[in-house]
């Protein structure tokens, strides 16, 4: 006679590669944001209207990584890693799952496409979220080569070639490694 089958609980699996990749990219983006918010005129103009202490959180739902950016006294966005309390953020940008965060952070889809496809949810003022997304596009233009940046932006931001190359050099060899 067959033994009675045991119906066990099935625990959710892990996607370690994607989790680590997203974590690393969040670090690059955060540090990049911090440096470029001092370097790039367009980002400076955009964040000028945000109040001091304004905090943005990017979080991967339901239990994924998060990253905070906070506007400081000097008027630029400071990368705060995952050190702040979620409740302190004025604007939260949530990725509905690790797959959509992976797609977006590996430049396979653009931020506007992710938003249009309901892959992102927002807590806070939507106009401020649009502002941050616009800045994110500029940051990505510096971080990624032109061929990729073209794919993830509707139109490349108006930044002169020389300025972009200088910015790219500085962000990779100064801003990101030293957290300047």
């Amino acid at each position: 006679m067959r033994k009675n089958r045991i119906y066990k609980e099935i625990k959710p699996g892990r996607k370690l590669f994607k989790v680590i990749t997203v974590k690393v990219i969040l670090f690059f983006l955060g540090r990049g944001f911090q440096f470029l918010s001092k370097f790039d005129k367009n980002i400076k103009n955009d964040i000028h209207g945000l109040p001091e202490g304004f905090t943005v959180m990017f979080k991967i739902l339901p239990i994924g990584s998060k990253m905070f950016l906070k506007k400081n006294k000097k008027g630029y966005l400071k990368y705060k890693g995952s050190s702040l309390n979620e409740k302190t953020s004025d604007l939260s940008i949530f990725f509905k799952n690790i797959e959509c965060a992976f797609l977006m952070f590996t430049a396979q889809i653009s931020s506007h496409q992710a938003f249009a496809e309901h892959r992102i949810s927002i807590k806070g003022e939507i106009s401020k979220a649009m502002l941050i997304m616009r800045c994110l596009n500029i940051v990505e233009t510096y971080l990624f080569p032109k061929i990729i940046a073209k794919h993830i932006t509707k139109r490349l931001p108006r930044i002169s070639g020389i300025k972009k190359q200088i910015g790219r050099f500085l962000v990779y060899f100064w801003g990101i490694p030293f957290g300047i």
Binding site: H112, A116, I122, G124, M130, R155
Partner: protein, 394 residues
């Protein structure tokens, strides 16, 4: 073309017909509620439209919990708080919104606070944040423009902080929308024109923006056809029931389309112009629509060309060469605007709307921060916005 991924959600039951309101008690019973609060504005009360709603309750055992008829033209935070108190004091269990966009948005705001049992609406601002199913909401539109009876969006003004907060969530969708011609028969010609152009813009932007999909396309296509066939008739003969019902349906379908595939740059410019110069939303839509289509031509010529069929009919579509159809669409929209100008003085330019040219930089700055710009197929920065606004000024 089918997108790689899209979402479409519209669970709203739609009742459409000349005396569709008579089904209210039955629908409330189906929803398991017995004491609705009616939310409306002074204009609706003055136009005598509430009597149709009240009459619908005759010979039923459903009590109207109360009627709040003082919603301002811009849905405000303070009004939401007042209505929540009335809802609780009168132990209501559902909401009926009778009015245009402002009344419907207010009702959605009230529903958020009641459901979340909170007294701070701003805590729930954002996109797709709300988690809990809400109290049953029945919407009876009294204009044919906003499509709010089938949209998941609400915009509420915070007058103290001088900001407008947006809320989007599938839970904000009403349970039933009732399209009854009696509610729009007395709508003045110029409002009919402006709201009709608003609905046309919803449909066209839904069809041409980045989250278009086969289901929203079908809704948008039919909405455009109904508007192009009936708007002028409804403006000329306000009491024409057929035209009124067609426009109510068109507005509803355009609403379902854009609630899923969203709107674009016409709305970015329109929201900014409305916010600064306080012009009617439909007027702003009518002004910017052809200029934005021209601006977007570079990327979506094919989609704009396809719209010639529902907009102008089979004959003109087949007579126009493929390469000229997009321009013909813009020409048709301009002709429609000219005719509406002749009939109702609906402004075609910012100048005709009485807007000062000095406001253009301020409008441009606000427009590039508008959420709907995300969904436009072509990006717009400050310089682009200035160019389009100057064209629309003339």
């Amino acid at each position: 073309m089918i997108p790689k991924y899209y979402e479409f959600f519209n669970p709203v039951k739609i009742l459409s017909g000349h005396k569709a309101l008579d089904n209210i008690p039955y629908e409330l019973e189906q929803l398991g509620v017995k004491k609705p609060l009616i939310i409306t504005d002074k204009g609706i009360k003055k136009a005598g439209l509430l009597k149709y709603v009240k009459r619908a309750f005759a010979e039923s055992n459903t009590i109207i919990g109360s009627i709040y008829d003082d919603v301002p033209s811009d849905s405000s935070l303070e009004t939401v708080y007042k209505i929540v108190k009335i809802f609780k004091d009168n132990s209501c269990d559902s909401i009926i919104a009778v009015g245009g966009g402002s009344v419907i948005d207010t009702a959605k705001g009230v529903n958020i606070l009641i459901t979340e049992d909170s007294n701070d609406l701003m805590k729930f601002a954002g996109a797709e944040i709300l988690k809990n199913p809400m109290k049953p909401l029945i919407v009876i539109p009294t204009t044919s423009g906003t499509g709010s009876e089938v949209t998941l969006v609400a915009v509420i003004s915070d007058e103290k902080n001088n900001t407008k907060m947006a809320f989007t969530s599938l839970h904000l969708l009403p349970r039933v929308a009732i399209l009854d011609t009696r509610m729009t028969l007395t709508l003045p010609a110029h409002i009919t024109a402006a709201t009709g152009m608003d609905a046309l813009t919803h449909a066209i932007e839904a069809y041409t923006c980045i989250q278009k999909n086969p289901i929203s396309d079908a809704h948008a296509w039919m909405a455009i056809k109904l508007i192009s066939e009936n708007l002028i008739t409804a403006v000329k003969k306000g009491k024409d029931k057929k035209a009124r019902l067609a426009l109510l349906n068109a507005s509803c379908m355009a609403g379902a389309a854009f609630s899923n595939s969203m709107v674009g740059m016409v709305h970015s410019l329109g929201h900014a112009t409305g916010g600064i110069c306080h012009i009617h939303h439909g007027v702003a839509m009518s002004i910017f629509l052809p200029y934005v289509l021209e601006y977007n031509l570079i990327k979506i010529r094919e989609y704009i060309s396809e719209l010639l069929f529902p907009l102008a009919g089979n004959e003109i579509y087949s007579k126009t060469s493929e390469g000229q159809r997009a321009e013909k669409v813009i020409e048709c929209i301009n002709n429609l605007r000219d005719e509406l100008y002749k009939l109702t003085k609906l402004p075609r330019t910012l100048k005709e709307a009485g807007i000062s040219k000095e406001k253009i930089p301020e409008i441009a700055k606000l427009a590039i921060g508008d959420g709907s710009l995300t969904f436009n197929p072509v990006d717009m920065d400050y310089e682009d916005a200035i160019k389009v606004l100057n064209k629309a000024y003339k």
